[in-house]
Symmetry: C3
Subunit: 680 residues, 3 copies
């Protein structure tokens, strides 16, 4: 593949830089350049929150200061990721044009101030953004130092103003064509909820004294889809404005972890490059392994969106300041966490923030350059070490890919629907947690995984894992059936194939849309368990605990592999496998724990011969990842275990830091190592 | 007594049926009839949420579909409880007439949507309801299949719109006559709260930054009373509309458990039949016995409202979907829980819902007919079993009564007042819990109990238990004094006789209004205990733990039976008895636990010879209830203990299922048995 | 010093009296006088909530009833503290003039009702208050029985109406002069928060869907300062109105414990006398010692505000009714708690309330006279005992002072800033708790302490303790440096000298403003610890646990006394001392526990020879306090330990109750004793 940033085809190291806060301190701006160079920084993100400085009064643009900064950085070998400033609207604008401020779920227009809180529909705001973006692009798109557009910042949230609601109604008209069709899909005969006119439709809102839940689930689900589409449309408008000046400069938007508001898969075609902001909260305890798993998964999500390398756009050298507690990183952790991103496909390590803000709410957020103003600090030394490492890896790793045999379905629309459902566990249905539990078993073995949603292609994988596929979007059941028929292996679970894409139940037996035949089971009912309650699956002479959700199923052709060990459904099927075409479909009836997933996926990936980073599992708490380029393999080891670990390597390995052959990787606590692996 | 439903004088079995959601699926409607017959269903509730189908546009009524359904059911031997549809207003109506939507406590008009959220005062809504009710009644009241009116659904909540507030002011004028009287009773000289005009009076509301509590307690209390009266007036208007067409069809309204908003005793004269919706959350654990006690009490409340049999209008065959966890019922539990209702006086077992809704928020709520559409499911088989049992009992049990010797005072106005008071325990004054603790001791022994409030007649009982009678409504202290004077036995406790009916303290020594003489004590002060703290009562050589509230009392004529065992009031009186007239009045100074209540009530009921279901206590966790008709006694045993139990029976018992004589009832876990007991 | 109340120069005993609630009961008013005399009551507070009685209609004043009460009390030897009635506005006023009602943080105008909820800016309210105050003063200021003005009641809270916001903008203009200066200090270039006009500035408010926090911390901080200043201005207006009639009658306002809304140090020059309302929640458990420490500290705050005796204006004889649980006071506790106030400098013991209110929200709040109406109650006898004790002490103690060698910095503006900061511990930065932890070590030894803020004079103390001095107001760093330079001993800690008075970080190394030189350290970073995590300080062979916050510091001239025992900063400095001028500055890098503070302050106060009540520590749980007058010393001992305790006394002690010499003070549980100590 070509580089994500053709003007500067290298691994990036740097981060958000806010010289607009220090324009009256040229001494500090000068010192910044010197310190960046000392830390091997080659790239900064500029102007993210600078709108008030770029357009201090309506229509009056002041860009000279920015040009001077960009040019000066460029002359010092530092490239610019240039932001559009829409993430924070100036106060003069939000005071003059109240419509650009959001209306919250309680129906109140928000006050001015804060950030990330503009309406995505407002024509006024869209025009103001278009104008500033155009001015910026005309001035800077062709600058040799500007390598990437950073559209806005951390797009997020939703607005319920009348403009948004009107757009929602148009969106619904386009989707359903008629109110009759909408009423049918939303099942509005229930509780006399029938809509007689489009104007009767409002965004779901907690303004009912009987509790917050909107009873018409299809409405809630479509609202979330609309919000994603509306934001995508906003991003597209931002993109078009900057591309007009020079279409060759790629665009990105920095996404966020575990982001419930939007379906990021809908953004993939709008952006040239996916980037994101990763803020793991390392604690120096055993929990750090859980944290590493969570962030491994999110790195994989970001890579999978476009199936190409991504950028780590923000991270923190020491500690954030917004968590309940600002725990300092333990020695080594900054390197390990930074290399984890690269290992999963990032072509950068970027920070928020380069120089620490002096006032307001982020003045204690970790930064490369602290208030003391010099480089003799732990965080600065940690950053410098990462900079050196990236230089060593640059040529080999930049642009390399990850190509797994395993796809894991993590579908945001399914998540919205299953989490919004009433029953069978309102105190926590834990879809994302269960996806992560499956993921963790593969992570533990160093088996690379792609993340897909129901609209993605699944051909070519050996194994597709689809936990709790409650909602089936049109065509996905068929796609799964074909995948198995043609020899693929599919893992499904309890609570699968329950509703159609509008949250309307399948009639005639679950799983619906033909998946009953693929799995060879009928799912009669689901027993919800309280926290602390459990059951178990008896399988191969072992007993595996299960919890939270136990489906009562009947084999209709499938072979029963495991049965329940307790309660009134003791002896009933709990794990089945069905031969379908030339493939196999497993059905797991209950929510299992780490022990089950570990044993089950070890056997299965061995049987299927799934690709892995190393022939054997790495030690507990150590992650092994694999990137590939031009036939070369790069294995990344990160040690999150809190203790030193030895990892035996196959023949033909070279330590990329030293360039020397290596047979055992010796990792200190919180260490990271990159290895070139010729064969094995 | 005559039957609750003269057109069909039988035990009812069936439930809520929503064919209005399936009118485009005649195949499903046909299948429904077949399945109902298979499950011995003889009665459905119709049209509860069908307003949008009955009046799709303003003033355009479409009733043919409903007539067809009713007729078809009737021809198949299935009777109809016909609902008025006011529980859910159509969206066209709430959009056109915002006044019918409630204003919540924060002063916001609610959005359209949801259910049970109409204003009870709005003239527009009252007129719309009158019109549709009239149309329905004119068409269906004389239909031979329509046996009962089901007014609205689960009346609930409150509205604070200006219409309601104006009605509240009228209510106050009527009650107090003058502002001077109101100011006096509400003690408004406190904090300069004096009202100079009626317009200055507003509903209590949490719009004060200093916290939610309305300091004028009399205002809060009267608001709750007004809300009950206003809802009763609304129900009356609904009743009059349907009775106009045919006064012979009785009316009911389905009430709810532990319903804090309204004083249900005020509804008893508005309704011909009391019915209610019981949703115990069975867990398959020891907690199930607590659940059984709670629902036993609520069944008794419903029976006591009119002192006649009631109807179980809704229950769930398997699991609800709105609890934190949807735990499936254990085998047998559906029978046991259904028979518990009958045992306490229900002449029906009805369900929500017959066919499971396909979409929206109740699509996973248990139903007789599941999405799979056939009868080969656990829940269907459980329902069928109950249907069979009801047929066996029908002739003997239908219309039989419960006639206890014991009355337990559970007064909603007292509850409102004592829970709203500031002090002596704001973290939980636990009135309802304490009432239930007294109740449980009698339940444990199989002693039937009536529930009364301060307006009920108490003559004729042997024992009246009145826990924490904080608020004395006019005349009740005199009623209690007469009851004791004429030979009755009265149990009173700490925190009794504190305020008059408007929450104004009695001066001159507690308990007030002459109860100090009845009990022979002066109550000086109350010590509030934190959770986890305790004291004890020393009595007959035993030490009984007490908690939460310990009154410091002085005997003024009473005999001291027990004393405190700890703290600075060690040795002071904790339990006294006073001879008054030919009766006795016990005063319990502290909140006791199960041990005390068990021993105390065992002795007392033996001494008084109170009626009981069986001569001896049933095993722990087994409930023994008694219904009577035409001189015959019917004993109902329900086993909630989770284990098989044997219950020895007196001579002359017959198992009503088999018709065979029986000397020991052998109950499986979660089993229920009905026994005809001639004598013993 | 002269007496606080020159017209009646004695220790006061009495409290809030509300005859306005009983004007139709002359029998009760007569009985009240008799009971007050029985309880040695010499002073009542009148008319606090009587506005509706004083001005029943707009402009119609009715004062005769009040004059009759005052005169009658006076003739019976009972003096009056006369309140202005602004604490509770009459309903007719708040209905007619909505502007006098507050607007809350959600932007809603509050409803009428409640108390302490008027706008402090409203010209209408100010005028109404001025008018009634003037009328009251003209009628009563010269009455011989009226000894003190009680301005309003428990001033509290804040209002965000447009009038207040306009006043805030004026306040800002005055403070900053220009928007440029304001933008600079508030660091508004951050997130494009720049203000282009004064009208763009709004009070901080949680109307942003992204959470409650206002990101511009300088704005939040200035808002709090403005609120304090605006309330002070309101108090000044009240004072001027009553002083106009007779400037010789002193004014007070009853303040409250741990009051976060206002900086009480700003009120000291507005008031002649400081008074406050103390409501410790005694539980009869070990927690009572913690409670005693907290209230000791708050008594000391109140005395320190004006460095003169204060008045205990409200307390409760038995139990309040607004706490989660109303636990009755154990025998003796009323005496001990009352004498604690006197011991720390109070010249009164006053109660809320004299006669218990009959209705509304305070009807169960403890009172001298209960609803039963006689004196044969525990609380009455307790009050009578205190009355007797005060008479014994009156001549010697009234007007005596407390003169410590130790000053503890407890600065409200620092507290606002550090608690509002994001990082390093958002789950609890615990400034006030840490101040109390230092205080407790001194309390334990009977070492008197003054409380100061950053604007107070610190010359003349031997020891100044300044925990977590995050924010440095202009000049305080210089004041501290001079204090040390001239021989003083200073204790500073982690997180000191971080920001200037507008919450803008010091650049160039912490602690800022020259304190780095005073302490001889550089503070590089702060490690936040989760609850349950810890580290320790190794010092003199002992290991002292620390928690929550651990600063990583470097000695820059200071001597390292103690080092960290764990984690990656094991062995790094944790406690240092620096010689600076002729004094010493200690720097404690982590939040220590009681053990450390005890050992550290024991050594230090011995070394410095700080004044103490007794030569040796009193027993655990016993407090020893010292007042002085005319060369005489009065030692007060209060036993909060729950057990009897013996306290050895030095030579020359006399028990002030008996007048007899005493060598060992024998204290029952919850006992209090006053001792005259000639020397020793």
């Amino acid at each position: 593949m070509t580089s994500l940033t053709p003007k500067f085809p290298h691994l990036l190291h740097g981060g958000d830089y806010n010289p607009d806060q220090w324009l009256d301190r040229p001494d500090i701006l000068e010192q910044d350049i010197a310190l960046m160079k000392e830390a091997h920084i080659n790239c900064v993100s500029l102007a993210i929150f600078a709108w008030a400085k770029l357009e201090p009064q309506e229509g009056v643009y002041q860009l000279d200061w920015l040009e001077e900064i960009i040019q000066n950085l460029y002359e010092n070998g530092i490239y610019t990721v240039l932001a559009t400033p829409s993430g924070a609207k100036p106060r003069w604008m939000s005071e003059k044009y109240p419509e650009i401020r959001r209306v919250n779920a309680a129906g109140q227009r928000e006050l001015s101030g804060g950030r990330h809180n503009h309406c995505y529909t407002s024509p006024v705001y869209r025009e103001k953004v278009r104008a500033i973006n155009t001015v910026l692009a005309q001035r800077f798109a062709k600058h040799p130092g500007v390598i990437l557009w950073h559209l806005s910042n951390e797009y997020g949230g939703e607005c319920r103003c009348e403009l948004c609601q009107a757009a929602f109604r148009e969106w619904l008209k386009k989707k359903y064509g008629s109110l009759e069709a909408l009423n049918k899909q939303w099942w509005t005969d229930f509780w006399s909820q029938t809509f007689n006119s489009w104007e009767e439709i409002h965004a779901p809102a907690p303004r009912n004294a009987w509790g917050n839940a909107e009873p018409v689930h299809g409405l809630s689900l479509d609202w979330k889809r609309f919000v994603t589409d509306q934001v995508a449309d906003f991003i597209r408008a931002e993109r078009d404005a900057v591309k007009a000046a020079d279409p060759s400069v790629p665009v990105t938007a920095n996404l966020m972890e575990d982001y419930y508001f939007y379906n990021y898969f809908k953004f993939k075609d709008v952006l040239d490059v996916v980037s994101w902001d990763a803020y793991p909260q390392w604690k120096g305890t055993e929990e750090d392994v859980d944290t590493a798993v969570s962030f491994a998964l999110w790195h994989d999500v970001m890579r999978s969106l476009k199936k190409q390398p991504f950028l780590l756009m923000e991270s923190v050298p020491s500690a954030t300041n917004w968590a309940p507690v600002s725990r300092l990183k333990r020695p080594g952790m900054h390197l390990a966490a930074s290399m984890q991103a690269v290992a999963h496909g990032s072509d950068s390590v970027q920070y928020f923030q380069l120089r620490k803000s002096r006032g307001a709410s982020e003045k204690f957020h970790g930064a490369v350059i602290d208030h003391c103003g010099h480089s003799d600090t732990r965080e600065f030394r940690d950053v410098e070490q990462v900079g050196r490492r990236l230089r060593q890896l640059d040529e080999a790793v930049c642009g390399s890919e990850v190509k797994p045999d395993v796809a894991l379905v993590f579908d945001m629309e399914n998540r919205w629907a299953v989490e919004n459902a009433a029953g069978p566990r309102n105190c926590g249905i834990h879809y994302a947690e269960d996806v992560r539990a499956h993921y963790r078993a593969l992570w533990r073995m160093g088996v690379p995984v792609d993340i897909v949603d129901e609209e993605c292609e699944i051909k070519g994988y050996k194994l597709v894992i689809a936990p709790m596929l409650y909602l089936l979007r049109a065509g996905f059941a068929q796609k799964l059936a074909e995948f198995v028929k043609e020899g693929g292996t599919l893992i499904g679970t309890y609570h699968t194939g329950i509703v159609n894409e509008n949250d309307l139940c399948h009639l005639g037996g679950w799983p619906g849309e033909g998946l009953g035949e693929v799995f060879g089971v009928w799912h009669e009912a689901t027993d919800g368990l309280y926290d602390g309650e459990g059951n178990c699956i008896l399988l191969d002479g072992k007993s595996y605990p299960v919890s939270e959700l136990c489906a009562l199923i009947h084999a209709r052709g499938a072979q029963v592999l495991g049965t329940y060990g307790q309660d009134f459904y003791q002896g009933e099927p709990a794990l089945t496998v069905n031969a379908y075409g030339t493939g196999k479909a497993y059905y797991l009836a209950a929510r299992a724990g780490a022990d089950f997933y570990r044993d089950f996926y070890r056997g299965l990936t061995e049987e299927l011969g799934c690709k892995r980073a190393l022939p054997a599992d790495p030690p507990e708490g150590v992650e092994a990842c694999l990137r590939e380029k031009d036939g070369e393999k790069y294995v990344f080891l990160q040690n999150f275990s809190g203790e030193a670990q030895s990892v035996p390597l196959p023949e033909g390995c070279v330590d990329m830091a030293s360039g020397q052959p290596i047979s055992v990787a010796e990792l200190a606590a919180y260490d990271g190592m990159a290895i070139q692996r010729s064969e094995g």
